[in-house]
């Protein structure tokens, strides 16, 4: 067998994202691919407070799994929190943090947005604080974005081809580790991002 000495290079970004959790509900996103399916039971590791619960929205209702008696139980132990998705976390303990470890998705990544005025919980595939229109978010007339504030929502809508609402007339900015609701007033669409490491 002959080995080539030419430079074969692959590029990736691995790292971690630490997301603070307040006591109560948090709408969070794991934006790093852990390489093992991004199962919630793997991402949120013990020790966790009794009753710690993760809710995943399916478009009409939530599936949930809870950490009870030192083990996960509930609707779907294969529940995922992959880059582009989002989950509600009910932290039954005090303020804490979860650290997601993995690889930033490179190349083209797509987040599906169900239309017909349906709600979607999504996140940026890339772990960055970004204004949605700088991230190629496909806003259509009548769309609304809701960002959870810990007790309520800040909302912005896309009307007459411009953003309006709590962000003061500009596209909302989402933070690292933050998931958010999108109410897609148009047809089913896709939020595609193309991330390349130079």
């Amino acid at each position: 067998m002959a080995l080539s000495a030419s430079a074969a290079t692959s590029s990736n970004i691995v790292g971690y994202v630490k997301v603070n959790l307040t006591s109560g509900f948090n709408l969070v996103a794991n934006q790093l691919d852990n390489g093992a399916g991004n199962k919630v039971v793997d991402l949120f590791k013990a020790p966790l407070p009794e009753g710690f619960t993760v809710f995943k929205f399916n478009g009409t209702s939530y599936a949930s799994i809870s950490f009870v008696d030192n083990a996960w139980e509930g609707d779907d132990l294969n529940m995922t929190a992959a880059p582009g998705e989002g989950v509600f976390v009910r932290n039954t303990g005090g303020a804490s943090a979860v650290t997601f470890v993995g690889e930033v998705k490179t190349g083209s990544s797509t987040v599906n947005l169900t239309g017909g005025n349906k709600f979607n919980i999504v996140s940026s595939v890339i772990p960055q604080q970004v204004k949605l229109d700088d991230a190629g978010f496909p806003a259509t007339e009548g769309d609304s974005v809701f960002r959870f504030t810990g007790s309520s929502y800040a909302s912005d809508s896309f009307v007459d081809n411009a953003w309006e609402g709590d962000s003061g007339g500009v596209a909302p900015t989402v933070k690292v580790g933050e998931a958010f609701f999108v109410r897609n007033a148009g047809a089913d669409s896709a939020w595609t991002r193309n991330f390349v490491v130079n």
Binding site: N12, V19, F88, G142, V159, D160
Partner: protein, 192 residues
């Protein structure tokens, strides 16, 4: 194979604190409260009657604003500033530019009485517009309560009990005169 690995350390600090106040999505857009809960011109606006309020409508150069009020008996407290209605040509006539409001004090889950008032933006208040015979109107008082779903849902803070309303004005003398001429004309032809 060379592998370039860049380690990122990113902390996301969500400085969030629970509040006793109630947030309200001050919007009458269909996406917030359902279709048809609009603010419309009444018959005093002539040809615009029944149409959704917009700024700079054909034949009516005025602009309009809406504000949210917390009603407590005879007291009405404005929550935040005013929001402009949209300009003529909008895809959503009869709606104002939505933005959240906060009722400071009432805990989440308590029922509030709210009212939306709208008026000619050239005036500082609905009462001032009314006194000047310019466009004004107000909704019926409606109840609002953060639904406190678990997990929280965006619709929890929508003004679902808001119903639309009309704004009215005292027509300009020229408008009255034109109306009178029309009535006189009708009577004339009926007599013939």
């Amino acid at each position: 194979m060379n592998k370039i690995a860049t380690i990122l350390g990113i902390s996301a600090f969500a400085a969030i604190s629970l509040q006793a106040d109630q947030a309200i999505n001050f919007s009458n857009a269909a996406s917030a409260v359902g279709a048809g809960k609009l603010v419309t011109f009444d018959s005093s606006f002539g040809a615009l009657s029944g149409q959704g309020v917009v700024n700079n409508a054909v034949g009516n150069a005025a602009s309009y604003v809406a504000a949210l009020f917390l009603i407590d008996g005879a007291n009405a407290t404005q929550l935040g500033g005013t929001q402009a209605f949209r300009n003529a040509g909008t895809s959503s006539p009869g709606t104002w530019v939505g933005q959240s409001r906060t009722a400071v004090g009432p805990a989440q889950g308590t029922t509030l009485s709210l009212q939306v008032r709208a008026w000619d933006a050239a005036f500082g208040s609905m009462e001032a517009a009314k006194a000047a015979d310019k466009g004004w109107g107000q909704s019926a008082v409606f109840t609002f309560k953060d639904a406190l779903s678990a997990p929280p849902a965006p619709g929890d803070i929508a003004m679902v009990n808001f119903t639309g309303f009309s704004i009215t004005q005292v027509p300009e003398p020229s408008t009255i005169a034109l109306g009178a001429l029309g009535v006189a004309g009708l009577l004339f032809f009926r007599r013939k």
